[in-house]
C-alpha cells in the first residue's frame, strides 16, 4: 500500500483524486501496490464524499510516516516551495504540476531529491498531459537536442487561434477566452508569456543541464500581436504562435526566449490550435520530432501527475539526475543570435528593397510587410532606424 498526501484541492487536486480512484485496479496491476490518497491538505471544508481525508495543517502530513509521496497542487511558490522542500527533506518523493515552483527552485529541489535518493517529478508542469519531459529524458538517449520550440500555453494559443480563424482582435479574443474560463480575470501570467517562459525554462534545464531562471529570459507576450499581421501572414501560409524556444548557438551557448513567432503551414506547431499544446524538437539522429496534446485541464493534468506517481512507486531510488546550477555566462544575448523576422512598415516597398536586399516582400498595400534573411536583432534595429515600423515578429 502506497499512501499519498495531496496539497491543494483545486482543478488539479480534484482530478488527481478522481483518477487515482477510477484507475485503482490498473494502478495496482502496474505497480503491485494499492495507491491511496490518505490526506488532502485544504484551507477549509468542502462537501465531497472523502471529506474525512481533509486536514488543515501541513505538519500533520510531514510527520505522517505512512505517507511516502506528496502531490503538490497548490500552485505559486509560497507556501508550495516551503512544503515541497520540507517533504523532500523528510524523505518523501514529491510530484507537482507547478511550473512556477520548478522553474524557480527546480535546481535546489532536484538536488535534495538526489541526496535523499527519492524523486521530484513534474511532468504535468510542462505541456499538461503531453509526455514531453518523459520523452526528452527517456526517448532521446542516442541524441543531442539541437533545439526545442513549444506552444506551451493553451490560453494564448486559444486567443491566437481565434485571431487567425475568426479575425478577432486580441481584446475580443481575450474576452471570449475569459468567458469560457480559459483565461483568468487577470490574464497576465498567460498573455504576457510568463507561463510559457517558465515552461521553456524547465525544458531547457533538462535538455541543457543548467538551471535557467525565468527572470533572465527575454519574454514577450501576445498583447501586441496585430490582427493586420495575422491576416497578412495568412496570405503566405503563416501563423503567429506564442513559442518558448531554446537552442544551442553555433558557439555552443544557449539561446532561450519566449515570444510570438511566425510558423509556416508545414508542421505541427502550425497545426496545433485552440487550447492544444505542442513541442517540437530538432535532434541529431532522430531528426525532427513533436509531441502534441492537451496542455491543461483537470483530467489531462491529473493523467500526467498520476503517471509520475507510478514512476515514483516503481522507482528504486532517484530516477532522473539533477541538473546543474545556472551559468549565466553560457546564455547567449538574444540580440546577437541571427534569425529571420517578419517586419511591417509604413514605408514603401522600394525603400525596403534598398535596405534589405535579400528580404522577401510578402505584402504591398497600405503597409509593406517582408521577411528578412537571418540577421541579429541588433543589426535589424540599426537597419530599421529610418523606417516607420508597425510590427516585428520573429520567424521560427
Amino acid at each position: 500500500m502506497v499512501k499519498i498526501a495531496l496539497l491543494g484541492h483545486g482543478v488539479v487536486g480534484t482530478g488527481v483524486v478522481k483518477v487515482i480512484k477510477n484507475k485503482a485496479d490498473q494502478l495496482f496491476e502496474l505497480t503491485g501496490e494499492q495507491i491511496e490518497v490518505k490526506s488532502v491538505l485544504v484551507r477549509h471544508d468542502y462537501d465531497v464524499d472523502y471529506k474525512e481525508k481533509f486536514i488543515y495543517s501541513f505538519d500533520e502530513i510531514l510527520n505522517d510516516e505512512e505517507i511516502s509521496i506528496v502531490v503538490e497542487a497548490i500552485g505559486g511558490t509560497e507556501p508550495a516551495y516551503r512544503y515541497v522542500k520540507s517533504a523532500l527533506l523528510a524523505g518523501k518523493s514529491v510530484v507537482t504540476s507547478n511550473k512556477e515552483l520548478v522553474a524557480k527552485h527546480g535546481f535546489e529541489l532536484m538536488n535534495i531529491a538526489d541526496e535523499k535518493n527519492i524523486n521530484f517529478m513534474f511532468e504535468a508542469a510542462v505541456g499538461g498531459a503531453i509526455p514531453v519531459i518523459h520523452g526528452v529524458r527517456n526517448c532521446l538517449k542516442a541524441n543531442k537536442v539541437h533545439s526545442i520550440a513549444g506552444i506551451l500555453n493553451g490560453t494564448t494559443n486559444y486567443i491566437l487561434t481565434k485571431m487567425i480563424d475568426e479575425k478577432q482582435s486580441f481584446d475580443v479574443a481575450l474576452k471570449a477566452a475569459q468567458e469560457l474560463g480559459y483565461a483568468e480575470a487577470d490574464p497576465s501570467a498567460d498573455v504576457d508569456g510568463i507561463d510559457t517562459c517558465r515552461k521553456i525554462c524547465i525544458l531547457a534545464d533538462i535538455i541543457y543541464g543548467n538551471h535557467i531562471l525565468p527572470e533572465n529570459v527575454y519574454t514577450e507576450g501576445i498583447r501586441n500581436v496585430r490582427i493586420e499581421d495575422v491576416d497578412i501572414l495568412k496570405l503566405v501560409g503563416g501563423a503567429i504562435k506564442l513559442l518558448g524556444v531554446a537552442k544551442r548557438t553555433e558557439d555552443n551557448k544557449l539561446f532561450i526566449m519566449t515570444a510570438p513567432h511566425v510558423v509556416f503551414n508545414q508542421g505541427i506547431l502550425y497545426a496545433a490550435n485552440d487550447v492544444f499544446n505542442a513541442a517540437q524538437l530538432e535532434t541529431d539522429n532522430a531528426g525532427l520530432m513533436a509531441f502534441y496534446g492537451r496542455g491543461a485541464g483537470s483530467l489531462p493534468t491529473a493523467s500526467a501527475v498520476v503517471n509520475d506517481i507510478v514512476e515514483c512507486v516503481c522507482a528504486d531510488g532517484t530516477i532522473y539526475p539533477a541538473w546543474e546550477d545556472e551559468k549565466p555566462e553560457n546564455v547567449a544575448d538574444y540580440k546577437d543570435v541571427p534569425m529571420q523576422f517578419y517586419v511591417n512598415v509604413s514605408d514603401k516597398a522600394d525603400k525596403v528593397e534598398n535596405a534589405f536586399e535579400t528580404a522577401e516582400i510578402i505584402y504591398i498595400k497600405e503597409s509593406t510587410a517582408f521577411i528578412t534573411e537571418k540577421i541579429t536583432e541588433n543589426r535589424l534595429n540599426e537597419k530599421l532606424k529610418d523606417f516607420t515600423v508597425n510590427s516585428i515578429v520573429r520567424v521560427l
Copy 2:
C-alpha cells in the same frame, strides 16, 4: 562493458554502428557501461573500417557468451525469426526494427523474453524514431486508450502528399518516390498497406493486450486513391491519408483496419506530410495526444534501436509484459462498425439526397461527392446498390 551483436548491415545496421560509435560517451554516462558492437553478421565482405567485426555464421554469435544483446536488422521473417528466437532462448535480449517479425511472432517472442527474464524490444519497428511504443507503454499509465490512428508508412505518405500538393496522379507520384529511393522497385509492401498493417497490429497488440495477426486485418492500400477525390476533398479542407486504425467498439470489441481515410485540416494527421509519420491517440484522461517524427531512415531508425539497447542495458529483468495470444472472437467485423464515408458517384445530387437524407454533399459537378453520416459498411453498400459508385473513402 556490454557487447552487442548486430545481425545485418544494411540501412539500419550501418546506422546502429554509427550511432553507438558517435554516442559512446553519452551512452556510457547513461548506462555506466561501455557499449560495443562486437560482431556484425553479414553475408559477404564490405570495405568498412570495422571489417574485423564481420562474421558469417549466426552460431558464432549464439555461442558467444560475451554477447548479451542481439540487434536484428535483417528484415523479413526468415532467417530473422529463427535467429531472434534462438538468441532469446539463449538468454540474450533482442532489439529489432523488424515490423514483419514482431507483427507475426511478437506474442511468442515476448513470452520467451518474459520466461527468460530478458527483453525483446522493437520501438523502431513502428514509427521509426517516434517513441510511440514507449509512450503508449510508459506515459499513459492512468489512461485507457480508446483509439489509435496512425500514418505509419513514410513512402505512402510521401506519395499522397505529392498527389495533394502537386496534383500528381498516383502513378506519377509513385515514380517520383521510387526515383528518390523512398519506394522500392516492387512497392507492394508500402502502397498496398501491408507495412502499415503490420505496424497498427503491433500497436494494437500492446494497447489491447492480445495478438492480432496482420492477415486477419482488412488492409487496403493507396493504389486506387483518385486524384479527382483528392482535389474535391481539398475544397473542404480534407486530405486522404493511409491510416492504420484501431479502436474499441461500443460492445468492447477491437476494430482494426488499414485503409485510406479522409482527415480534416485540424490536427496532426492532416499536418503530417512527406515522409513523416504521426500517431494520434484518444484516451480517457489525457484526451487527444499525438506523436510525430521521422518514420524511417538510417539514423532515425538507429536512434530508436539504440534507445532500446539502453533500456535493455539498464533493465533489471523483463521490463514490459508480454501480450496474450490472439482472440479472433474479440475482433469486430469491420463491416459492422459504423463510421462516416466519403462517397463519389456519377449520379445526380437529388438521388443522393433521397437515399442519404443526412449526408453532406460537398461537390456537384461531373460527379456528386458527399460525406455520409455514421453508417456501417454493410448498410452503405446496400444503399449504394443503385448508384454508379466512383469511389468510397472512409472518414476518420
